[in-house]
Amino acid sequence: MDNNYALDFEQPLRGLIEQMEHLHQLSAENNIDLSKEIRGIEKKIAETKKSIYSNLTPWQRVQLARHPQRPYAYDYIERIFTGFQELHGDRAFRDDRAIIGGTAFLNGESVMVIAQHKGRTTREKLKHNFGSPYPEGYRKALRLMKMADKFDMPIITFVDTQGAYPGVASEERHVSEAIAVNLREMSLMGSPIISTVIGEGGSGGALGIAVANKILILENAYYSVISPEGCAAILWKDRAKAPQAAKALKFGATEIEKLGIVDGVVKEPIGGAHNDPDAAAATLKEAIEAQLAELKKMTPEERIEQRYQRFRKIGVTDEDVSDGKIVPIKEAAS
């Protein structure tokens, strides 16, 4: 993938960066001092970045979440943990690499890592099925999570999928059951579970590894009941209306935080995680450490109860509205 890949709304920035690179080159080749000009452009770049990225529309955020340069699960795993040992297969059918998992150490402490991984190159994408798991992916995840629960290890999951793979084989091997069983079994585990949506949180396919005590989401990630295109196709009868659907679904990080779905929004470097994967991973690591420290203070029974209540209270009915417990999202924002 081209390193200079830029989304439509990033184009002005790309232009400025090219200008700056050109000046650097000019300065080096001709041995002339252009530092004043360069500083001027740097300032302009900073301003443009701020104006672009502080006013992103929900649809632009979706594009950032899908940015081809965006860090994927492996990028975070290698930066956050040490000694990752990938474990393979569901012990029944095959190894689905859309979900990867294995043991690792977080600051020297043993953890189980489960993640959806999309893959960067074409070869990797095919190997990881673009991050869309088959049922055996969920079953492998469950096998590893149960192992972690048995050995009293925290479970750290990373969510990044457009959804479980919609295909004949997927249905024939009962992908819905594989997801459903994970939802039920994760709710019964005594180990601490922390999930982070790092890119796309696509529906049931995302939830299948995210029934956690604490859920985090990166600033430009989204977590939704349906893809904006899918929603647009059904409700607007037109997939091109995806930007409208993205707005209506209110699935952005800060919006779902207000709805009580996530426990924290993890800041990304300006311009998105792909601009500085090291910084993005460092911030995420801190957030995970903080949540884990809290969860470690609890007994397994308390963690099970906390996780149950966490999901139990989600939902808005007229009871909540009349009790004044839930403020409509618009009022909460203002």
Partner: protein, 286 residues
Amino acid sequence: MALFQKPKYSTVIVKKKDIPHGMWKKCPVSGDIIYNKELEQNQNVVPKSGYHFPITARKRISHLLDEGSFTELEKDLCAGDPLEFVDSKPYPERLAAYQKKTGENDSIVSGVGKIHGIPVSIAVFDFQFAGGSLGSVAGEKITRAIELAIKEKIPCIVVSASGGARMQEGILSLMQMAKTSAALGRLSEAKLPFISVLTDPTAGGVTASFATLGDVIIAEPGARICFAGARVIKETTNEELPEGFQSAEFLFQRGLIDQVVPRTEMRDRLRDLLAALYVKKEPTQA
């Protein structure tokens, strides 16, 4: 050319009033015309072909439970509009229209009752209400039905007929999958049976949560049961779909569900299963 003129046909005009509207239905399988009253007496199943027409939640409950045994719970629970969702219409307007059309407040009717004397907590989807979609109200009612079963130490039954999660409640709908499944985890730990009945159609988030978590999973004949719809699969993958793909019989053949049971036999079958799993005594033939 006059020799080879096209023959002239005259159009026969059928007088609409010859067939009284709403008294008959045409069976999509056999093409037979069935008198509505006859259909109703047979639980909306075409006697000859066995085709299952849709049925309302209330009718289904009346067919499944002992007469007069049903006590409805959470009847007044209504949806909120947490996202202030608007597509071509605001969500509250859609809700009001469904309420008017069905006479129900949301897509689930739930409560307690008895099947041949065996107490059950039951939640039944009404597909006519927003395609039986799973939103906060449905999720809450199912969860309360499960929690009630745990409290009363009785089995729980959910009859599904749903297109999946309700988009207008966004991520809150998705989370109902986790909420209901977690409640079923507790029901399972309490060693109480959960029987999931799948009817046409059961899809998406409903299939990927409580509907496939039954200790026993039963489907009605011909019911379409899937995670992703056939059209989506075809468009995404260009795969040829096998014959009967996603039908109850297809799932049965693949070992994904326990039984395919006609609607007219469902009540007795549930009695037999609950007798085995819960009462643990062979039922006396009624």
